[in-house]
Symmetry: C2
Subunit: 438 residues, 2 copies
């Protein structure tokens, strides 16, 4: 057993709380010991004075390969951005481009302490290859959208099924069942026909797979549903019997009070993307209301082209700040809740709360070590959750561990990814895309 | 002449723009050369490939010594925070405590690329000593508040005058006229009597000094003015003939359309504190409206106890994001404007636009060097302003220069401040304050 002895273990489990000068034991990628007392036996013990051990962040909603398109155009409206800048280039993406874009984005995520993410994109099997190479964990979803692609629901569903089968073979052949997970990814209620949504709902239940969907992201989306169906997108999905506790809904900016009751009753998980919602001017999601209605809310970065970072710590701080200002209530989303949204709530959203999201015996040894002494902002010391959320940021992440092994440290850099070679690749792909688009 | 040759000079002057692979020459603390061409003669030339040279950030509103009280209590309302936690400890502060707290906060600011700040606090002459020791620039104001301190306007004004005289002697004796500037600091329209505001207005005009004031920060403040005077705080100051283009008003969260017209007509400068306004649940200032009404808006962190950082870069990103989300308009406060608010607009607010705020011949050589190659987020490269604001952050500041000399570099650390010794001091003071408060 390898034993770590940091100054603070911030477990993110209510019963365990914060352990000062405690011991975390790891065997075969799993946490097998956790106590204030030193274990009687171990192979190696690493003293970590001045370090905080925190569960790895769970980024529940991204399109990671969009690193390729980051910064292409900012400060414009969503329609112009998507139609004029993003979609024309996305059409030119080759599978190998998606691999490189995803691997680059995964490097960014790892450096920022993210040990698990959920993705939705095209050529998603390439994202699986990047996940395997980087040795991160992920839930991968192919973005099904028969409306956008102008194909029949059956044809579009075939692609989803092909991805499912390819992914499962890939996972079996590479022995990655603890690292890569499948979910369905119907893009949104407006990107999919009713038929496709129903086919996917049925298949998800049959295969006990979860469903990842964009939901009520913009006012426009909700207004169009009200016009066409006299229902909000959430009410629409409810009439289709689509909503259950295996549904993970990204954004949910425009949920009405009635919508929130539906989400709560059905146990739908909400994936909150504060930066993206601000930057694309979608609005401010009613997160405090969702939380007080017992909806599980997790955090996410959204894609790197609409953020333009993959830094969960930034989302944690923003989630803790923005709702206070908008609701004029300084008590909503206190520091600890914001941290929980990025860890334990994320695991719950992905249906992996038995394996991830907190420092507990039996869970995967996925965590980050934070060197608080490197930060001037850690002095004076009062409350550890507050210090992490309001005063520090991801620059103080000293190392990132997945399945009991470091994948990144400030001293050694990336241990699974050759970032510099990759950076040149990204610039090459960008140049090719821009020249082909002309 | 020392010449720097970075990959990008982001001048923050509209006519100069961004200079690629250009040359900045420095003599005796002043920028004396700026061109795309190499100067014919120089003493030393430093090639800086992959570096961005940007004007130092100007933090126009803080209470820097409040590092001592950071994290004492978060996630509570302003009244509880101030009355129950902050004020009882502030009463116990000794002058030397303020010196140490200020120096520590200045170290944080320097590391984060801030080369000029404006402060308001008690024992403000101690802040001047810290500014001198750190070799940063500052506008210093004593927070006058006869209402809070329950003294006569005359008595309170005497303290302001004493500070002015002490500061001017200090500046003369230490030869710091390019580094330390005086302004009056009437705390707020509710913290000062009408008499004190009028005395200060008159004195400011007489001494050609500027005025730093908190204004329309909370809804409560505005409501109470409406109840007592049937006027907003801004209308109230207007009737006192208080508002001119030498007034620097912090917050201005609750300005009405009529207020904005007054501020615009009088040329009042607004100091925007996005994080503090969110964290203390004050609300969201109408910044896009102020800008479109031709009000000069600068950026600030507010004090470290209500932020809890002194990181202007964080404020830049937040200012660029939050107004988009709140107004549902992705085009407001584009990246370049957010950067301008932290540099050129800050200099203008402080009345120092001839000396600071942009990279121009004749201005102080106050700037930061950013190592964009260290950031994964700088790839792919499209627009430099957008990259700086949305993708990077202050961790990529490689060195900070004030008056032509480095005061901090990642390699050498702080060149004017012994931070580790200071950190112990801060913890000692905190422990003493908490024990005395019991």
């Amino acid at each position: 057993m390898l034993v770590l002895n940091p100054s603070y273990i911030v477990s993110m489990n209510e019963n365990i709380g914060v352990i000062k000068d405690g011991f975390v034991g790891i065997e075969k990628g799993i946490i097998t010991y956790l106590s204030k007392k030193k274990p009687p036996q171990y192979e190696e013990l690493i003293p970590l004075p001045g370090r905080v051990l925190l569960p790895g962040f769970i980024n529940t909603h991204t399109h990671v390969a969009m690193t390729l398109l980051r910064g292409l155009k900012d400060d414009v409206d969503l329609q112009t951005w998507l139609m004029k800048y993003i979609l024309p280039l996305e059409k030119l993406l080759k599978p190998k481009d998606v691999y490189y874009g995803a691997l680059y984005g995964i490097a960014e995520m790892i450096k920022n302490g993210i040990t698990m993410f959920m993705d939705m994109y095209y050529h998603e099997i390439e994202v699986a290859r990047a996940v395997a190479d980087a040795r991160i964990r992920a839930v991968l979803t192919y973005g099904s959208a028969d409306v956008f692609f102008n194909v029949s629901p059956e044809e579009e569903f075939k692609k989803a099924e092909k991805f499912r089968e390819d992914l499962l073979s890939f996972v079996v052949s590479k022995n990655l069942k603890n690292f890569i997970f499948f979910a369905y990814g119907p893009h949104s209620p407006y990107g999919c026909t009713k038929e496709l949504l129903q086919i996917i709902r049925e298949a998800a239940s049959k295969h006990r797979a979860r469903i990842h969907i964009h939901l009520s992201e913009t006012e426009k989306e909700v207004k169009e549903f009200l016009k066409t169906y006299r229902m909000t997108p959430i009410e629409y999905l409810e009439t289709l019997k689509f909503l259950r506790n295996d549904v993970m809904a990204a954004h949910v900016v425009w949920a009405t009070d009635k919508d929130i009751k539906i989400l709560s009753r059905r146990g739908v998980h909400v994936l909150h993307n504060p930066t993206s919602n601000l930057k694309l001017a979608s609005g401010i999601a009613p997160i405090p209301k969702l939380l007080s209605s017992k909806v599980n809310v997790a955090l996410a970065t959204d894609g790197p082209a609409s953020n333009n970072r993959l830094d969960m710590w930034k989302e944690i701080t923003l989630a803790a700040l923005i709702h206070k200002g908008v609701l004029k209530d300084p008590e909503v989303i206190p520091a600890k809740i914001a941290l929980k949204m990025a860890t334990a709530n994320g695991a719950k959203a992905l249906g992996l709360e038995d394996r991830l999201g907190s420092i507990e015996i039996g869970k995967f040894a996925d965590f980050i070590l934070i060197d608080i002494k490197k930060a001037l902002e850690s002095t004076p010391f009062h409350d550890i959750h507050s210090m992490l959320v309001y005063a520090l940021d991801s620059r103080y992440i000293e190392s990132v561990w997945i399945h009991g092994k470091p994948v990144y440290s400030q001293e050694e850099g990336f241990l699974t990814i050759n970032v510099e070679r990759l950076r040149d690749k990204i610039e090459d792909i960008r140049a090719r895309l821009l020249s082909e688009a002309k």
